[in-house]
């Protein structure tokens, strides 16, 4: 082998090495580019994933709390108990008032809104009385709002118009008789009648002719001796069945138990739910447990009644010696034959 041959082969070898070096550098460049691209994409994906997971957790909060709220009100009949208590309270503490239409409920985050509409009977027709909105937080009534749906102001609606037999008059009774006297012949009225003593439900029914509808009986509950004024909430019951499905005096109950027993059952139910009753505004100091005990030991004794009918017939009450006072409620145009 000559020296020239040796040189050329060395040159070729060094060229070959140079080529390999260049190629490997290129390869490294490409793979580094790929790696940085892959890392960039992975970072981007991880960012999006994190955002989506956070969003999912935030969006799950409302549905999960809603499920728990519904389970709270749905299990153990909590919502139905609250609705039952509110409708029972209306029937046994608000004279001549009944529920109209459905009761609407909306459940939110561990609170429930209830909307009730009430009517009063004047003559042969029911007229709108008020809308009641109750907000419950868990099983306690937090607020109660009343919207009048008739011409009578709310303060007047909330006033107790009965006069207890041994208590003094709170308003001018003669003025009420005069007002009744001046009402036109072709009208019907709602009148709160207070007696001079206590009567049994049968005696009260027998006092009135068929031309007058006896609507609601005010009953002695034992609380009246302590205090009885225009702010006192009377206890009583309607003297006829009701077709509203929410009514505790639905005709099916009346047919099964009779009026008096249905009333006692309702008071018993309210005594059992005393905690809920005490959470309602105006009802904090009313104990249905005490009232039930009083009714059990003393029986049902009426001191007043709400009646409605033609004005001419109502005027005749003036001759009834047992009537101590009257208070005129709503007056409407003639509807007695409808």
């Amino acid at each position: 082998m000559t020296r020239n041959d040796n040189d050329s082969s060395q040159e070729k070898y060094s060229e070959f090495l140079k080529d390999i070096k260049e190629q490997s550098i290129k390869h490294i460049d490409i793979s580094q580019k790929n790696i940085s691209k892959t890392v960039h994409i992975a970072k981007y994906k991880a960012k999006i994933s994190n955002i989506m997971i956070t969003l999912a957790i935030v969006l799950l909060l409302i549905p999960i709390t809603t499920i728990f709220s519904y389970l709270y009100y749905g299990i153990n009949n909590k919502a139905n108990d609250l609705i039952k208590v509110s409708s029972q309270l209306i029937y046994v503490t608000e004279p001549n008032i009944a529920l109209s239409e459905d009761i609407n409920t909306t459940i939110k985050f561990f609170n429930m809104d209830e909307e009730l509409n009430t009517v009063r009977r004047v003559g042969k027709k029911n007229i709108n009385n008020e809308s009641i909105y109750i907000r419950y937080v868990l099983d306690r009534a937090l607020s109660l709002k009343r919207d009048a749906r008739s011409s009578v102001p709310l303060t007047e609606m909330r006033t107790n118009h009965f006069i207890f037999p041994n208590k003094p008059f709170r308003f001018d009774v003669q003025k009420e008789w005069n007002q009744l006297d001046k009402l036109p012949k072709g009208s019907v009225a709602e009148v709160y009648v207070s007696f001079n003593t206590f009567y049994s439900p049968e005696d009260v029914r027998s006092k009135f002719t068929n031309e007058i509808d006896v609507r609601w009986l005010a009953v002695r509950s034992g609380r009246e001796d302590l205090s009885f004024n225009e702010h006192s909430i009377p206890l009583g019951y309607p003297l006829q069945g009701d077709s509203n499905m929410y009514s505790p005096f639905h005709t099916t109950y009346i047919d099964e138990y009779g009026l008096e027993q249905t009333f006692l059952n309702t008071v018993h139910d309210l005594a059992e739910q005393q905690k809920i009753v005490s959470s309602y505004p105006y009802y904090q100091n009313i104990s249905f447990v005490d009232q039930e005990n009083y009714l059990k030991s003393h029986g049902i004794k009426a001191y007043g009644v709400v009646v409605t009918g033609p004005v001419n017939e109502l005027k005749k009450l003036q001759n009834d010696k047992s009537v101590r006072a009257i208070k005129i409620g709503e007056v409407a145009l003639w509807n007695w034959e409808s």
Binding site: L55, P63, I67, Y70, T106, K108, Y246
Partner: protein, 107 residues
């Protein structure tokens, strides 16, 4: 040479499967999120407890995509989230129907 062709084909199928896995996983998660957002909006603004039908259809597609993504190779995080959210929507609707029948249900 045949081996080379086979390798190329398997590489091609592999990349296709990877793409399917990626797309179905992301779609499932996204479908669940969209339906959940719609449920939130409906509840906050209108107090509606139930979704419009289109979102239930979207959720069903989301569940199918989630299952596909779950049984193909690759990260299963999106598939699990997608499946979870979409199934939660159906669970929510079921619970609401059952419990609502028990609350204030008068004829």
């Amino acid at each position: 040479m045949e081996l080379g062709i086979l390798n190329k084909e398997s590489k091609y199928t592999k990349s296709k499967l990877n793409l399917l896995h990626e797309i179905t996983g992301w779609f499932s998660f996204l479908a669940g999120l969209i339906s959940l957002a719609s449920l939130n909006i409906g509840f906050i603004l209108l107090s509606y407890l139930f979704l419009p039908t289109i979102f239930y259809v979207l959720s069903i597609i989301g569940i199918v995509c989630g299952l596909i993504s779950l049984f193909t190779k690759g990260s299963k995080m999106n598939a699990w989230w997608g499946l979870g959210l979409n199934l939660f929507l159906f669970l929510f609707t079921f619970i609401m129907i059952v419990v609502s029948f028990n609350i204030n249900s008068h004829p």
